[in-house]
């Protein structure tokens, strides 16, 4: 492999990894804190992208306003879903959670079809992020993808600081270690759940918005990426933010190098990676033993 190909794939892998992290962190938090497996997390990713499309392209709002409103709207929607549907599932078994959130996927995907049709919408890259940079004589890389990787990294650091340094973060860490402990300590878990879930939804929406110019906006766009995000969470260890970060980077890099090294079976590479990791560590890299 040439050095330039190597560097480009490295950047691609990092950028994809950061995108995956934004989604996987919400999934892993929801599981760590609430004990809920939320298949419908990908819906927030999709709705974020659609809302920006609606606000910026159809209503012609300025982009920052459109993005901010979209994220707020997704958080509101997420909170409603959390209160109405997920909170009652906290003490139910995983089977019920899988089915209910699968039902939610059907509902959200179809609502997107009802509201925006089945067409695939392209999303534009904002003017200031168009173009490419010359990293060296040989390597030209799109600015937008660099920005995307940067945004992901900033969020990852922010999330790390929240989890490592704040009181909420402490509860989150305690919760993913032993959930009954948190309620036993007399902490009112309701608001914590709502906050964590809202944060996860906001990150997923942000990921959707950032990914829109690359992936295009279409119904079901969340379903493909959510499965990969699950792979990330399984690799990293369920409930662990650090695991989600490492898992996302691994999956991003394996995917991007897999495309060059094993072009015919590239989509298998990350699953093979997951299989190997599960053989080695059945609870993921940073997961606690069952």
């Amino acid at each position: 492999m040439q050095l330039s190909t190597f560097l480009i794939q490295l950047l691609n892998g990092l950028q994809y990894g950061m995108l995956l992290f934004l989604i996987a962190s919400g999934l892993t938090l929801t599981f760590g804190v609430m004990g809920i497996i939320n298949l419908a997390h990908g819906a927030f990713f999709m709705i974020g992208a659609y809302l920006v499309f609606q606000f910026a392209r159809i209503y012609e709002w300025p982009l920052p306003l459109a993005c901010a409103s979209a994220i707020v709207a997704v958080v509101v929607l997420g909170s409603i879903v959390e209160r109405a549907v997920l909170a009652p599932l906290v003490d139910r078994d995983h089977l019920d959670q899988v089915l209910v959130t699968y039902g939610l996927i059907l509902i959200f995907d179809e609502l997107a079809v009802v509201l925006w049709g089945k067409d695939v919408h392209a999303a534009e890259i904002p003017a200031m992020l168009r173009g490419s940079v010359h990293i060296s004589d040989m390597i030209v890389y799109p600015v937008y993808r660099l920005a995307l990787a940067g945004a992901g990294l900033v969020c990852a650091i922010g999330l790390y600081l929240i989890v490592a340094k704040t009181r909420i973060g402490m509860i989150v860490r305690a919760g993913s270690h032993d959930r009954s402990m948190v309620s036993a300590l007399g902490i009112n878990v309701g608001p914590v759940f709502a906050l964590v879930f809202g944060l996860g939804a906001a990150l997923a929406a942000l990921a959707g918005i950032l990914a829109a110019p690359i992936l295009s906006v279409s119904p079901g766009m969340g379903d493909k990426i959510i499965i990969i995000a699950f792979v990330v969470v399984v690799i990293g260890g369920i409930g662990s933010i650090k695991g989600a970060f490492v898992g996302a980077l691994l999956v991003g890099l394996f995917d991007s190098f897999g495309k060059v090294l094993f072009p015919t079976v590239s989509s298998l590479v990350i699953y093979a990676l997951m299989a190997l990791i599960l053989v080695w560590r059945p609870n993921g890299l940073f997961g606690k033993a069952a």
Partner: protein, 318 residues
């Protein structure tokens, strides 16, 4: 078998046997499809309802057998189902053995996600490679035969009776299996794994055996599906397919064998009727799934009990 089960099964089989007599080809084909899914759902019920193994990748085995059947016919011209049925079922069982060895080391939510991911891996394998026909899948133009070329297994009525026989045998096999010592061990594992281990049972072995049996039976359904559809395409390996069969099991009531059969009828009818009514049928199905799972613990049987209790109709549940 107890007398009431014997009578009910007898009545259901008799009704099933009369369906082609109506001479309505659509009805026969539709009933074939429902029975195929009944087999598929019962095979998953063995895992979920009896052994507590919530698999979200059960379509993998259905799909593997379907592709094996299609490849046997398309690539080397084996269209005699007396050969392709055992071979494809065996392939499904072997794949279940491999996936089971890897995923059963994990538990709970890891198991759900790992089974999902392995099924998805197979999906991409067939979707991305020309050998498996890519995203179009493998369309079969030849007809299947049953033993001799003169007896067509693709004839709708023959195919229907074949499916009835397969569904009946699957039911009887599982009925006895779950009542056997082996079946009781599975229920023990579902109820309290630690306790079973402390009694001296090596859990992994039983789970693996169950996973392989369930995979093989799902493979049987996959084989029959290719007889019906003359097509094996990636959508049957998609995780949506796994979620659907899981819904059938839960809708009808898991851990009952009869429940999944009813669930298969209900979900297929629900989807068909909703699709007739609106192009946005997924909305209806989604709402039904959410409501039934949220409010009816134990599927429709559970929902009925909850409603009955509200209305004061409740009789104590057996």
């Amino acid at each position: 078998m107890s007398r009431s089960v014997l009578i009910t099964t007898g009545v259901v089989v008799c009704i099933a046997l009369t369906i082609p007599l109506f001479g309505n080809p659509y009805l026969t084909t539709h009933a074939t499809r429902i029975l195929i899914y009944a087999i598929f759902a019962m095979s998953l019920d063995l895992l979920v309802g009896y052994c507590g193994l919530v698999s979200l990748g059960h379509a993998a085995f259905f799909g593997v057998a379907a592709y094996a059947t299609a490849l046997l016919s398309a690539k080397i011209g084996v269209s005699n189902i007396l050969i392709s049925l055992p071979l494809s079922t065996l392939t499904a069982a072997l794949v279940a053995l491999a996936i089971g060895l890897l995923t059963l080391r994990t538990g709970g939510i890891y198991f759900i996600m790992a089974t999902l991911a392995f099924a998805q891996m197979l999906f991409f394998l067939v979707n991305d490679s020309a050998f498996f026909g890519g995203s179009d899948g493998i369309l079969l133009l030849t007809r299947f035969s049953l033993g001799t070329p003169s007896l067509s297994a693709s004839d709708p009525v023959v195919r229907y009776y074949l499916t009835v026989a397969a569904a009946f045998l699957t039911f009887v096999f599982l009925y006895f299996l779950v009542r056997s010592p082996f079946g009781r061990i599975l229920q023990g594992i579902k109820s309290n794994e630690r306790r079973m281990r402390a009694l001296g049972y090596s859990i992994a072995r039983y789970k693996l055996a169950t996973f392989v049996i369930g995979g093989a039976l799902a493979g049987l359904a996959g084989h029959l599906y290719v007889l019906l559809a003359s097509l094996a395409d990636p959508s049957i390996l998609d995780w949506v397919h796994s979620a659907q069969v899981l819904m059938m099991v839960i809708l009808g009531g898991m851990g009952t064998l009869v429940g999944p059969v009813i669930g298969a009828v209900l979900l297929i009818e629900l989807i068909d009727q909703a699709a007739e009514f609106t192009e946005h049928w997924k909305l209806i199905v989604g709402v039904v799934v959410v409501v039934i799972t949220l409010f009816g613990k134990g599927g429709l049987a559970g929902l009925w009990a909850a409603v009955a209790a509200r209305l004061g109709l409740a009789r104590s549940q057996p």
